[in-house]
């Protein structure tokens, strides 16, 4: 707690629990430092050095910006991100509105369908688009002579990819509605459109801003879609890849990383501020809104959601079809030969590597992140340490995967760094992916812990029960649903992760997402699609398995939740 100004602070003698909490804080802090802060710091340092590691000030930046191409890439990145943001926010708002504020049929089904793109890597959507709109695509003529390879493809692909994220944010915003305000509007005989524009829209403005920022940052820093479908259209994310992988110019890669990092961090800080306001907007006494049937609106919205769902299914279905036909579009007979992966350095082992990675990220990350959130949330001393840990936990959301990956590469290859032994190992992929995905599960855990009575530990202390016993017998069981959610979030996202690991894999640890990129580069688009579909089915299976196990565990262990 804050101490009196001017008065010398009194402190309580530390007990066993204080020591334990301090160790946990140190442990989580060390992870954050090694996996996140130092790698990002390395990027900043490296951008000021030449290729021999000599400090050269801003020379790299000067030479980078002296040519026209970075400006072009930046313009392209901004243009693509802005257009995608507008499209996604409009589409996602209508979709989320239909799910939360109408009585249209099949709402449960549409809700699930909106999230389906989350299960697949962005590359899969890009391939689906190529097969529909590419040079040999069925609907090529729709683009009226424009090529899908370039901004159009990137925008379509990123729209599909960021749509679920925006829908999730807007569902949350639209669910937080106070029925009493709508009753008041009805009593005052406010018309439908006026109610929408004067009450509904203003109430979700923070949700809209938040969704826009998340979409913008994701597209701005995305690598997969631009790589596969971007053609010769340069964006900042692919520039980093080209500098590092193509030209082995790490300093220049670091410069582009900083150029990418700064707007992302800025946007993220903005998003956090907005998220705080959204949470405060609804009082504890609010009454949940139950939408009334409106036949016309309900039917229109049903049509709209059906259209969106069909589009998603068409793209994903086409990618699956692409992986199964012999030779698109000339020989359409079905085959499994694309699942053999006969390209050099690519094989089923990449798929197993992805499963292994996802398993370890989820299984190591869940306890780590939950413990970290527990340290942050529980009222003990070390205010400063807890605040810093929380801030560090929020940072990964703002750091593009490519930047974190490059930073980690530079950090562990720093001469004399004992962590260098991890280079090329599965461990470094796990650590890097975990750091990259840290923020969302951390927030989930903090939210869950906030809902637990904050006096449990105080009661424990009065009963002379160690904190660990209270944690094991009460906090952990009470937070079990959140813990299960964290595990599956980490697993699914680790499964499809690409940008964070593209600089860090070795021949032995190459992942399915990387392999799919390589297959695509080698011209085996059908095999790339096959690899990507494997990831989707694996994710889907694990998700369903998780659902079953969760139900079973929760039913057995959570009898107390049911009430009478």
């Amino acid at each position: 707690m804050t101490l009196a100004s001017g008065l010398r602070p009194m402190a309580l003698r530390r007990d066993r629990d204080d020591g334990l909490m301090r160790w946990l804080l140190l442990g989580c802090g060390a992870f954050m430092l090694l996996a996140l802060l130092l790698p990002v710091g390395m990027i900043l340092v490296r951008s000021l050095q030449d290729s021999n590691g000599v400090f050269v000030g801003l020379a790299n930046y000067r030479s980078y910006f002296s040519t026209g191409s970075p400006w072009q890439s930046m313009r392209n990145s901004l243009l693509v991100s802005s257009i995608t943001t507008v499209i996604v926010v409009v589409l996602a708002f209508a979709y989320a509105y239909a799910l939360t504020r109408t009585q249209m049929r099949w709402r449960g089904f549409f809700r699930v369908m909106a999230l389906v793109p989350l299960l697949s890597p962005s590359l899969l959507k890009a391939i689906g688009l190529v097969y529909w709109f590419g040079n040999k695509g069925l609907l090529k003529s729709v683009l009226m002579g424009e090529s899908v390879y370039g901004p159009i493809g990137i925008i379509m692909s990123c729209t599909l990819w960021t749509f679920p994220h925006a829908v999730l944010i807007l569902i949350t915003a639209l669910t937080l509605a106070d029925a009493r305000i709508y009753e008041a509007a009805a009593v005052l005989r406010t018309s439908g459109p006026r109610t929408f524009f004067r009450i509904t829209l203003p109430a979700v403005r923070y949700g809209l801003i938040g969704a826009a920022i998340v979409v913008f940052v994701n597209v701005f820093t995305d690598f997969g879609a631009a790589k596969v479908i971007g053609g010769s259209y340069n964006v900042l994310a692919t520039d980093i890849y080209k500098e590092v992988v193509g030209q082995q110019n790490f300093s220049m890669g670091a410069v582009v990383s900083v150029v990418l990092l700064v707007p992302a961090v800025f946007a993220f800080v903005l998003e956090r501020l907005v998220a705080g306001k959204q949470a405060a907007a609804l009082g504890a006494r609010a009454v949940a809104l139950v939408p009334q049937p409106r036949p016309l609106v309900d039917r229109l919205m049903f049509g709209y959601c059906l259209l969106v769902t069909l589009f998603i299914l068409a793209i994903l279905g086409m990618a699956q079809l692409a992986a199964l036909v012999k030779f698109w579009p000339y020989n359409l007979s079905l085959t499994l030969k694309h699942y053999v992966f006969d390209v050099q350095g690519v094989g089923w082992e990449n798929f197993w590597n992805s499963l292994t990675l996802a398993f370890w990220v989820a299984s190591v990350g869940t306890p780590l992140i939950f413990m970290g959130a527990y340290v942050v949330e529980k009222p003990r001393a070390d205010m400063l340490g807890r605040t810093l840990l929380h801030a560090a936990a929020l940072l990964p959301m703002a750091v593009p995967g490519l930047v974190l990956g490059l930073g980690t590469l530079l950090f562990i290859n720093q001469p004399g760094n004992p962590l260098g032994v991890l280079y090329g190992s599965m461990a470094i992929l796990v650590i890097n992916t975990l750091a990259h995905l840290y923020t969302v599960p951390h927030l989930t855990a903090v939210t869950a812990l906030k809902q637990v009575d904050r006096e449990f530990e105080a009661v424990g202390a009065s009963l002379k029960v160690p904190m660990l016993a209270v944690f094991r017998r009460v906090t952990l069981p009470v937070c079990l649903p959140a813990i299960l959610d964290i595990w599956i979030y980490l697993f699914l996202n680790a499964m499809t992760t690409l940008s964070a690991v593209i600089f860090l894999y070795s021949a032995d640890t190459k992942l399915a997402s990387v392999a799919a990129i390589h297959l695509d580069e080698a011209g085996s688009t059908a095999s790339a699609a096959a690899m990507a579909t494997l990831m989707v089915y694996a994710s889907l299976s694990v998700r369903l398995l998780h659902l079953g196990v969760s139900r079973f565990v929760l039913r057995r262990a959570q009898a107390w939740r049911g009430g009478v």
Partner: protein, 373 residues
């Protein structure tokens, strides 16, 4: 009322004094002083209520006693030991929170046994002790239910039993009744009080409900803005409030302003109010406080003996009625007068009608004008 005043002689009282000593306890949050030099003592077996409006520092004080907050300065001494810097786990207390903080995933029995099961070496007869506690708080037959399956009052009892399970020397109650329905609250406050008497456990309860404090406490500590305004028995505090704040906070009090005329009267708007004013210098500005029940209606038409008033409105309050009267001679603030329902019914009045009042001079309390409630 003290626990058993008849049996307690002076010698044991002095010895029992100061089971808990709070001396010069201060706590600041930045510029804000939550506690300002709070000092008092509690005897063994006493039931003390910390009473005050929200934000007065009563909960902060309770948390400092438990070690859940660290005071900025000052000491807490329990049973002769200085516990000021001990962590909560090193102190000897049981606590019931406003939210009860029951472990939702454990049954009533498991909640109560929680503390004992973690003692090393494991105490014998945990089951017997739990059964005993369940009977003590009147929870027979509900032991296997989870907190969500229990009513508010039952949850409260489980929390109480859990706090008592390890036989602590001090019981801390943080607004334990405020989440309950009015009827349950009244019943439980009697139960808690008689349980506390039987066990003889020193107890501190935080409450903002002055009626609850008066009904339960041996002594009440009235707090305001981080300071102790008055400490005393419920009777003391009601009949001899030490400040205008206490007078206003406890029960209902009429206030009129005036200037001390002499040792037996205060000059109000246009009349001399008879009261004992010898403690205040002649000519000083004072506020006169008197309770509605100390004002009586003078029978018959307004006579010289009475104070002329006009009825503004009548507020029926169950066994009695409260008359809001305008008394021009005392100033513009309406005066509240309580009458038994039956005696009002004998001579009913309509708003607007005149009546005569009498204020008992012995019941008028004087406070210096600067001492605002």
């Amino acid at each position: 009322m003290p626990i058993n005043p008849a049996h307690t002689d002076q010698a044991t009282r002095a010895q029992a004094r100061a089971y808990l000593q709070i001396s010069s306890l201060s706590k600041s949050f930045g510029r804000f002083k939550a506690l300002d030099q709070v000092s008092f003592e509690i005897a063994r077996g006493e039931f003390v209520c910390l009473l005050g409006p929200s934000g007065c520092g009563k909960t902060t004080l309770l948390r400092c006693i438990a070690g859940l907050e660290v005071q900025s300065a000052g000491r807490v001494i329990q049973n002769g030991h200085d516990i000021s810097t001990l962590p909560p786990s090193g102190r000897d207390f049981g606590i019931v929170f406003q939210s009860y903080a029951l472990f939702p995933n454990l049954t009533g029995t498991q909640n109560i046994a929680f503390g004992m099961q973690n003692q090393r070496p494991l105490p014998t007869g945990i089951d017997a002790r739990v059964t005993e506690l369940m009977q003590l708080v009147g929870l027979d037959g509900h032991g296997d239910k989870y907190p969500a399956q229990l009513s508010g009052g039952q949850q409260q009892r489980v929390a109480l039993a859990r706090a008592l399970a390890t036989s602590p020397g001090l019981l801390l109650l943080d607004e334990p009744l405020s989440a309950l329905d009015a009827k349950v609250r009244v019943r439980l406050r009697q139960e808690i009080r008689s349980l506390q008497r039987r066990l003889g456990i020193t107890t501190i309860m935080v409450t903002h409900d002055q009626e609850e404090a008066q009904a339960m406490a041996d002594r009440i500590v009235v707090m305001n803005e981080g300071r102790v305004e008055q400490m005393g028995s419920p009777g003391d505090i009601y009949t001899r409030p030490a400040s205008a704040f206490v007078a206003d906070f406890i029960g209902v009090m009429n206030f009129v302003s005036g200037r001390v005329q002499g040792p037996t009267g205060v000059q109000c708007a246009s009349m001399l109010l008879a009261c004992a004013a010898d403690a205040h210098p002649v000519g000083s500005a004072v506020r006169c406080g008197f309770r509605p029940e100390d004002v009586t209606r003078v029978a018959g038409p307004a006579s010289d003996a009475g104070l002329l008033a006009r009825l503004l409105s009548v507020e029926p309050l169950g066994p009695f009625v409260r008359l809001h009267c305008e008394v021009p001679a005392l100033g513009v603030t309406p005066i509240r007068v309580d009458m038994r329902r039956s005696s009002f019914a004998e001579q009913p009045l309509e708003p607007g009608q005149a009546l005569a009042l009498h204020i008992d001079p012995a019941a008028v309390h004087l406070f210096p004008e600067g001492d605002r409630a």
